[in-house]
Structure formats: structure tokens, C-alpha cells
Amino acid sequence: MRTVSAIDQHRERSGQSKQETFERLLRDSYSQAFHLALRLSGRRSDAEDLVQESYIRAFRFFHRYDPSLPFTNWLYRIMTNAHIDEVRRSGKLRVSSLDEVHPETGSTWDVPDESWSAEKLLLSEEFEAELQEGLKKMTPEFRIAVLLADLEGMSYEEVAEIMRTSIGTVRSRIHRGRKQLRTFLVDARPDKYKAEML
């Protein structure tokens, strides 16, 4: 028996091909998706890769998309999964290269990350730059929850739907994420934030 997905029915009604429907949705959403990807990854090149990877995955599984729901919510679910995959992949490399104790000197590696400096976002406000740095240091699941809620203005229920978890877990992740961010800001700039925040 042949099952017709919701997107097939939608395409039949609109008279558009799968490619045309997807490209229209891409054009409508890619700027917003890039905005989130940039804050998730912290680097323009990483954000571009993340957005591209997310749209390619979305296209492959487009038959599973339910057009009665917002496309961006569905895309963000794909994007956050892709982001966590990427963090897990690259995280191992970063930890082993920078945080390991040097076998000869006994000190930790102190190598300036030139690629990061070169591509670091030129945020106009100092606070924005510090926030972005703090976001980068956060636990990925906390960062995703905080950004979906604060940057995208989503309710906890929507965040829970995207992250496929309970509202209680989302509440905890947002709370702990903001706490991590606050701690980072105080540690990074105690002169500026200590008096204000603690």
C-alpha cells in the first residue's frame, strides 16, 4: 500500500515540485537559520557549514516534514542535532590539543588559535562579543536551549519539541545555561561583572 506524506499532499495542492517547494522554504528561512547557526557555532565559516549541512539533511528527509507546522522549527531540530554532532566530533580534537599537559614541560599547551582570531566575529558591542564567547563555552545542550528560547523567542514547549525532551528538562537547561553564562562573564571580566552580578 502506498502512503502519501503530508508534504506530497501539500505539493499536489500547490502544484509545485519537491525541489520548488523546498527552495521556496529555503529562501524564506535561510537568513534566520544563519542567525541561529552563527550564535550556536560562534564562527561565520562554521555557521555557513552548519546551515548548509542542515538544509541538505532537511532536503533528504523532506518527505517527513509536516507542512502544517513551521518549517523553521523542523529545520532547527535538524540543525541542533547537526550542531551537537559537530561539537562532539571537533570537541575531542580541541580538548586533546589544547588542554593536554605538555609531555616535556608539564604545562598545558598555550597555542594561540589563529584561525579563531582571523574569523572571529566583529561584533560592534563589547558585551555582544563577551556573550558570544560565553555561549561558545557553554554545554551544547544548554546553549541550544538558551538560544532557542532567547534568540528565537520560543516557548519552553516549542524548545522541548525541537530538542525532543520534556519541558522540565528544558527549564533546567535554560536555568543552568544562563547560570553558566553568568559565571563565565564574571570569571572573564571580574572587574566589570563581579560587582554587578554577585
Binding site: 529555503l26 561565520r44 556573550l131 516557548s155 527549564r171 535554560i174 553568568r182
Partner: protein, 154 residues
């Protein structure tokens, strides 16, 4: 209501994600506790700071690059599917050739009828076979058997 309880709910409170009764409890405590009230304000600052992070322009070619990547992925998907189809064609041709060859070989080597050799059947007894043959040719013969053998006991 204590500070620990309140602080664990400050984020949900400022996001309006608490039940009305919980929100009221937090509100009452914040009105009484300067420390928790400060934490609430600072959490609000962080939330607003993130909300107000500026959008960064993607650049003029990004949309085209994305579309090209998606189209390429679509083409690759088609090629993969085509690849499977194309791989099936020679497999099907080989299977068909094998079938035809087997059928032809079977026709060429059609075995001779094998007599069952069961006693009482015409095939088992050549004489009975001949009688059956004669009867078929001359149904009125009444089964007369011509024998070159003399009477028994002679």
C-alpha cells in the same frame, strides 16, 4: 519559600513559564529578598543581551551557494537511485540468459521414456506389449497370440 527555591525558578519566572501560583510565590520572595532580586535582574539582562544579539549579513552569494548545495545533493541522490537501477539491468540480463540457457539445455537432452519395469505392465513384458500393439491394430483379433513355441510339455 527560600532563596534556593526561588533562584532555581528565576529563569522560568522571567520567561513566564511558571504556573500562576509558583509565579506568585517567586514574586513575593523577590519583593522581600535583595539578593534574589539582583540575580533576577541580572538573569534578565543576560536574556535580553542574547535576544538583542545582532543579525549578521550572510553575504550576497550565500543563498546561491545553499541552493547549489541542495541541488547537488538532490542530483547525487538521483544518481544513487539510478546507480541501483542500472546495476539491476545487467543482473536481470544475466538471470534471463541463464534461464534461457537452462531451458534450451533441457530440451536438447530430453531423456528417453523410462519404463517403469513394474510387473504386469506392458512395458515390463515385451510379449504383452506386442499383444497390446496387435490388438490396437486389429481389434477383432480377440487377442490371438501367435506363438512359435510348441505346446507345453512337448
Amino acid at each position: 519559600m527560600n532563596c534556593r527555591y526561588t533562584r532555581s525558578r528565576i529563569s522560568a519566572y522571567i520567561d513566564r513559564e511558571l504556573t500562576p501560583s509558583d509565579a506568585e510565590k517567586v514574586r513575593v520572595h523577590l519583593a522581600e529578598c535583595d539578593s534574589c532580586s539582583d540575580e533576577c535582574r541580572l538573569t534578565l539582562d543576560i536574556r535580553d543581551g542574547i535576544s538583542n544579539l545582532k543579525s549578521v549579513d550572510t553575504g550576497p552569494m550565500f543563498e546561491q551557494r545553499l541552493l547549489a548545495a541542495v541541488r547537488e545533493a538532490g542530483e547525487l541522490g538521483k544518481e544513487k537511485r539510478m546507480g541501483w537501477s542500472m546495476a539491476l539491468v545487467p543482473a536481470a540480463a544475466i538471470a534471463a540468459a541463464f534461464l534461457i540457457f537452462s531451458l534450451l539445455r533441457q530440451t536438447d537432452t530430453e531423456p528417453e521414456p523410462v519404463y517403469s519395469g513394474q510387473p504386469g505392465t506392458p512395458q515390463a513384458n515385451p510379449l504383452a506389449r506386442d499383444q497390446a500393439f496387435d490388438q490396437a491394430r486389429n481389434p477383432f483379433s480377440g487377442g490371438t497370440t501367435v506363438s512359435f513355441e510348441g505346446p507345453a510339455g512337448r
